[in-house]
């Protein structure tokens, strides 16, 4: 896989089918449905302790807005990912072009996905920082690889952004 900036696009080329599939899974991976731990992490309370009034107002007014924000980001990413659903042979390498104006949406969607996967698997800080992890041997290993791969993409996009 190669990743580079080309004018107003980020180009990810030489994407093998496995990595392309991981990218296709970003929107689904960001979904908190049926995962209370992930839901709790993505929609964390605005205050610690027993400020029930603020928490209730937050749930009613702020959360729906945040949901819309996150959903818009994953939809943008989902639309970009349609490039990977072409008529090419399924085992061929792919190329993905991400418009730089979608960079924020990608950062958000990748972050959502990483947080949801980490919450679902209850990864420890030690596991998340173990970048020399052994080859993928289980579903959990695959999820950890997914978190790290998405993190790598985030780092690259951040490096290309004009803050």
């Amino acid at each position: 896989m190669e990743i580079r900036r080309r004018k107003n696009q980020i180009e990810i080329s030489e994407l093998d089918p496995f990595l392309a599939e991981l990218l296709r899974q970003i929107p689904a991976s960001a979904n908190t449905e049926g995962a209370p731990a992930a839901e709790q992490r993505i929609f964390s309370p605005p205050i610690n302790g027993k400020e029930t009034e603020l928490c209730a107002e937050w749930k009613m007014y702020v959360e729906p807005e945040l949901r819309r924000l996150f959903q818009t980001a994953t939809q943008t990413v989902g639309a970009d990912l349609e490039q990977l659903n072409g008529n090419e042979k399924s085992l061929a390498n792919h190329t993905l072009h991400i418009p730089t104006k979608h960079a924020d949406a990608w950062l958000s969607a990748l972050n959502q996905a990483r947080l949801v996967i980490a919450a679902k698997n209850n990864f420890t800080e030690l596991e998340l920082n173990d970048h020399l992890h052994s080859p993928i041997g289980s579903r959990r290993d695959l999820s950890l690889f997914q978190v790290n791969f998405y993190g790598f993409l985030q780092e690259f996009i951040l490096g290309e952004l004009d803050w």
Binding site: P46, V62, L66, S108
Partner: protein, 121 residues
């Protein structure tokens, strides 16, 4: 572990203040007395902290970028706060009126950071 604020903007309560023009000392006419408006309600409601908590998933570079964007901090200040979050578990990013603190927390949640407001005890 509690964290020392690196630099915070503490909003001070507004107290009634009498302002006299400097030229009034030489004038034979009494200078008008101008009273500034008091914002008592807000004065009673200060201050609150905006606290960001450690999270092993969010990337350090991402957190730095969020601090720059949300608070307008220069990169070095944003990085200091990010490192404080990383090493001490939390950092106070801003202090002031509750309403604005809530708005900051909402923005930080929009970037998926763990953030809360805290009343200064």
């Amino acid at each position: 572990m509690s964290a020392e604020p690196l630099a915070t903007e503490v909003a001070l309560p507004l107290i009634p203040e009498i302002v006299r023009p400097k030229s009034a000392t030489r004038s034979t006419v009494d200078a008008p007395t101008i009273e500034k408006e008091t914002r008592a309600e807000e004065a009673l409601d200060v201050p609150w902290h905006v606290v960001v908590h450690n999270d092993p998933v969010n990337l350090m570079s991402y957190v730095t970028m969020v601090f720059q964007r949300v608070f307008g901090y220069p990169r070095d200040k944003a990085e200091r706060h990010m490192l404080e979050v990383h090493h001490k578990g939390r950092s106070i990013l801003w202090s002031g009126m509750r309403e604005r603190a809530e708005l900051y927390v909402q923005q930080l949640h929009g970037y998926l950071l763990l953030a809360t407001i805290e009343k200064i005890s």
